[in-house]
Amino acid sequence: MFDSLAQMIALAQTQGQPLHAIVIAREMAQSGRDRQTVRDKMYKRLVVMRKSAEEGIARPVRSLSGISGGNAWRLWQRLQSGYQPITGPILSRAVARAMAVNEVNAGMGCIVATPTAGSAGILPGVLLTLQEAYGFSDEQLVDALFTASGVGAVIARRASISGAAGGCQAETGSAAAMAAAAAVALLGGSPHQSGQAVAITLKNMLGLVCDPVAGLVEAPCVKRNAAGAAQCFIAVDMALAGIESVIPPDEVIDAMARIGRRMDPRFKETAEGGLATTPTGLRLAETLGRSKPPEELR
């Protein structure tokens, strides 16, 4: 894939193509596979995403630990009951779907890592809800997934998409930035605007730590996927209004990388800091038999 968003966007502009076309062409060249094969493979992933979102909304999913589960269903029920959500009909539903996917993930159900399992709710939450609201076709959603993957590949190359290496900014931050670029493109924005949406989203999530309670992928992960959907949509509205990020997207990605490298390991998926070491977090860890000896905790 590409080494920078600037490179991707410049290529899209010179060729007069949307970002997804650039990404598909690069994937075809790298893999030696034809366009239909590549699209079919992405479509299969869309199907799994949709299924996982629907599963988590249709009924209260429970995780093995019992720490998470049922909240996507709870929110969805409220939305169906005539309640007018403060966040409006689109974000509220994206939030419900994002949480649904993550709850299915926590229950060891089948999901698509986008780019990781811990952040797997954001992209489907955003894209499936936009499809529901605006009637986009599955073909357009497949295009959007390619846009998202191109952005994610740049972040993976320049920074990281792993909580252990870069904290939650690297997982939900990356997912939200990917979703923002894809949503802008779906809604008719330019490649440049997609880039701005990446920058704005990621900037607003810098420094976010990975502090999973009991070392699981449940709390605060499920609700952080909700936050990622929200961060995505505010950036999308701004980008489409022509608002520019003060710092260009690749520089924001690089800043995320630098922050991640300097981040204390206690906040990088070790469950040794933050929410994981709150009294309640520690109690939950102990109840589940996942506590550590006291001398390792600070």
């Binding site: 598909i24 993930n105 797997a120 190359r157 996942r290």
Partner: protein, 227 residues
């Protein structure tokens, strides 16, 4: 994330997997699968050394179950992953988990696997670098860099003139194109490990022909990770 690894769109949107963690579950399954392929058989005994975040949160993310699922040759979306420890016991596989320190340069999601079957024993070290992507970083004491995104042939042979020529001659005969290759050795005239990553499938006949050569200690075909 440095290195020669080309990132595919499907590395980012993917894998399709059983949760809960792409690095600690899906990546771990893939590392286990590659370890098994490098050993060349289902392990009878596996000593799994977990390092860093893998060690600290591994149980919560099911890393132990995922690694063993890989040793049993499951894919990342196999619903049996959650039962892998029991399935391993039923298959007569002895698995021991321990915490290891692979040094501060090791990736926080690293594992050192010591796998044995019959007379074969091998040490495989690798890392789960995020999003389900993995890298095998050492076989026995040889540093290597191998991601499973290509078909691969692994050969341990006596270090002497002609070995690479013989191997590439076989590739030519079977019309297999080499994408990347690397040779590592400990000292001249000793043992050398050669890894060839290829664009095309590596046929069994090629591996068998190689294994027949008296200067080859062992040869392994590592199938591409397709999930």
């Amino acid at each position: 994330m440095p290195g020669k690894r080309l990132v595919s769109a499907f590395d980012i949107i993917g894998p399709i997997m059983v949760g809960p963690s792409s690095s600690h579950t899906a990546g771990a399954v893939r590392l286990g699968r590659l370890g098994r392929a490098i050993l060349g058989a289902q392990p009878q005994r596996a000593i799994m050394g977990l390092h860093g975040s893998f060690a600290r949160t591994g149980r919560g993310h099911g890393t132990d179950r995922a690694l063993v699922a890989g040793l049993l040759n499951m894919s990342t979306d196999d619903p049996r992953i959650r039962n892998s420890l029991e399935l391993a016991r039923n298959a007569g596989m002895e698995v021991i988990f321990r915490t290891v320190d692979l040094g501060e340069n090791a990736h926080p999601n690293s594992v050192e696997m010591i796998l044995s079957a019959g007379q074969q024993e091998i040490r495989v070290a690798g890392a789960s670098v995020g999003g389900g992507m993995v890298e095998i970083q050492a076989i026995d004491n040889y540093p290597i860099s191998f991601t499973g995104e290509h078909e691969a042939l692994l050969v341990a042979a006596k270090d002497r003139p002609g070995t690479i020529h013989a191997i590439t001659g076989l590739f030519l005969r079977y019309r297999v194109n080499i994408a990347f290759s690397r040779v590592e050795r400990q000292h001249r005239g000793g043992e050398a490990i050669q890894i060839f990553e290829t664009d095309d499938q590596i046929p069994d006949e090629l591996v068998a022909a190689l294994a027949d050569c008296d200067w080859v200690y062992w040869a392994r075909h590592i199938p591409r990770l397709t999930d």
